[in-house]
Symmetry: C2
Subunit: 275 residues, 2 copies
């Protein structure tokens, strides 16, 4: 997907919500377990119910891999469904891959070609030649981990290398990679004030922000520090939406939760328009 | 697998060779393409032919993912075959995963439980809570990326954080993680002299060393700097073995290549015994 199309969708839907599909057989409503493919049945219902309120879906690949080849089929089926019925939705493979050149190319093929994702999350530790094979794909986007929202983020990401923290070094260095215009970054909302520093180094890039809601970040703060003139934000919510109810009304309740977040986002977008 | 069993196998076979299964439909012998599962047919033949010369197999997960659910089935089938016929072989999922707690647990289940791998490679960027869920599994091993063998390793891994390089910080910090006795590390052979510094920080840990042979490192240097009293090394070779011939004699030639490396390793082990 071209980035202009994503931006247009955000303005059209007045939403920059990404719904995370962390689909777990232990947490989906019991009545779905009799379906032939319960993971897909759940995803389809969630997607149909929430798509009016969001602009992106982010399957967390680990949850599918945990079920082996069958789980992988559920993921493929979910992507086929999304691309066939809602091609305007931006899709993110939350895979956090990272490996050397020829291996990175394989991962890129798996997610961009075989499954037709618009984007994938990638880890930066192995450097340039582990990231550029993803950036080589036209109209696909590589979402590099910068500052994550977990406690372990403080183990290495915020360590000083020279005069700045490692995550800022990752931002600055990666902006020089070939195809950097197709880079986005993961920046955790639990550290909203850091977003200001991120914006200094990557003023134009889209940021994927996890950790609003269940993990505790504030949407208002994220927007205050992280928005740019193209909005430049995708804010993810997974469990707070998809597991809001574990009864037969799960899709309806998920839609309601997604709608509430969309309303809050609409207010922030109005504020941006006025600024 | 218990680490003592791996050490015993190394002494028994006089080898610390790991054969990398980077199995690629574009590179395997043409006559295998008519098999129902060419990836598995190739792997089975390579395993049967080389197992006497090595102590470990390392499927590179990207190569299977690139073929979607079908590729994943080939990987599952390869693991079933290995565990059924050669349970003495140490198995490594070269997956380089890394994600927050509950997601990391899913990856651990996928590789340690569903597929019964002995170990998995993991990226350190997200810190403690992205690594400890893997370390929680008894008799399974987590192989953390420290210093990789690709050019991009110099982007971040060798940057100074405080008074030491990031990869040394990763080594030192991770040694304090819960379950650190089940940690191993990836250390590239293209930088053999670094192995001495690695040994200062992780004297007891096993090191997985890629980059001997095709990527240019010297086995003698790796042993000189990297061996400890338990050998403490697994040296990987992938393409130089498995793609040594693309004819019908591919398995035979692979066995021959693996045998040559084993002989060289035997010399190094004799040197260790004398020291």
């Amino acid at each position: 997907m071209k980035i202009e199309n994503l931006i247009a969708q955000i303005h059209k839907k007045k939403s920059f919500l990404c719904v995370g599909l962390d689909t777990d057989l232990d947490r989906i409503p019991r009545h779905l377990l009799k379906e032939e493919d319960p993971l897909f049945a759940f995803n389809r219902a969630i997607i149909d119910a929430t798509q009016a309120h969001c602009v992106a879906y982010k399957p967390n690949v680990a949850f599918y891999e945990a079920y082996g080849a069958r789980g992988w089929e559920s993921l493929e089926r979910t992507m086929e469904y999304l691309n066939a019925h809602y091609p305007e939705q931006f899709t993110i493979a939350d895979a956090k891959r990272g490996d050397i050149g020829n291996t990175a190319t394989r991962y890129a093929q798996a997610f961009f070609k075989a499954m037709d994702f618009d984007s994938i999350t990638v880890a930066p530790y192995m450097g340039r030649d582990s990231v550029e094979p993803f950036l080589a794909f036209e109209d696909r986007h590589t979402i590099l981990l910068a500052l994550t929202s977990n406690p372990g983020a403080f183990d290495f990401q915020t360590m000083k290398v020279g005069d700045r923290e490692l995550y800022r070094e990752v931002l600055a260095t990666s902006q020089g990679y070939r195809g950097a215009e197709r880079l986005m970054y993961v920046v955790g909302a639990t550290k909203a004030a850091y977003l200001r520093e991120v914006r200094e180094l990557a003023p134009k890039s889209f940021l994927l922000v996890p950790g609003v809601g269940a993990q505790g970040g504030s949407l208002e703060e994220v927007c205050q520090y992280g928005m740019n003139e193209n909005v430049g934000l995708l804010v993810n919510s997974s469990r707070a939406i998809i597991y809001a109810s574990d009864k037969t009304d799960f899709a309806e309740v998920a839609a309601q939760k997604a709608g509430e977040i969309q309303k809050a986002m609409e207010k922030e977008l109005v504020r941006l328009d006025r600024a």
